[in-house]
Amino acid sequence: MAITPQQVVFILLSVLTLGCGLMVVLSRNLFHSALWLVGSFFGVAALYGLLEAEFLAVAQILIYIGAIATLIVFATMLTRGMMLGRMKMSNFQSGISGVVAILLLGLLVLVLLQVSWPTEALPVPDDTIAMIGNAFVSAYVIPFEVVSVLLLVALVGAIMIARER
């Protein structure tokens, strides 16, 4: 089976995503973990690009890297004492959770290989962005409103919790 250029790109991006992801959970320095997390998010955004979901790719960069990763880096800095790298980063159950994670991965892959998944992607319509917008105000209007309320509540709640008293 010859490997097409797209598959090469996919393999490179997967290695980037998973490698950065591994470094996130293995790095001893919390700040470095946060930076590896940014790398992993970039890889995922690029995978979305490969899946021709450009709106999601850009939204991933905007929300995950621009907002969530920045928040996490901010929190690592505010809780400074924890990231000097002197203390052990993993807890008493790290060994067993590692085993559980690897077993779960094995199980998932085993199950995945049982099914014959489609190998050819179907053509994507041109105006996906407009379709997403329409979906938000027609079929998914109630979840959409609920999520907007959730965001508002989270905003107010975060300010209330973190406020200095």
Partner: protein, 102 residues
């Protein structure tokens, strides 16, 4: 073309990495990072299924946008909690946060 199963395997691997991070780390911020990885893995699955099975309906992308919004809310509240705990207890080590233990 890249077969759909490749995407699913990558997503499964990312999920397990995130699970390991969330279970094994002592620092609350690091646990949160693991959870973000898990959410990302789920989004890869949603978008891959959307692309390979029903690209003419955008439901997969719509759901992953909901996941994005919930992840943002969760990160904001979670980090606010962590900073609040750090202020009162001077630590974000999850093993030391056992006030409710009998």
């Amino acid at each position: 073309m890249v077969p759909l199963s490749w995407y699913l395997i990558v997503a499964a691997a990312l999920f397990c990495i995130g699970l390991y991070g969330a279970l094994s780390r002592r620092n609350a911020v690091a646990v949160l990072m693991g959870i973000e990885l898990i959410l990302n893995a789920i989004n890869i699955n949603l978008i891959a299924f959307n692309r390979y099975i029903t690209p003419e309906e955008v439901s997969g992308q719509v759901f992953s946008i909901f996941v994005l919004a919930v992840a943002a809310a969760e990160a904001a509240v979670g980090l606010a909690l962590i900073i609040g705990i750090y202020r009162t207890r001077d630590s974000v080590n999850l093993e030391e946060l056992d006030l409710l233990k009998g």
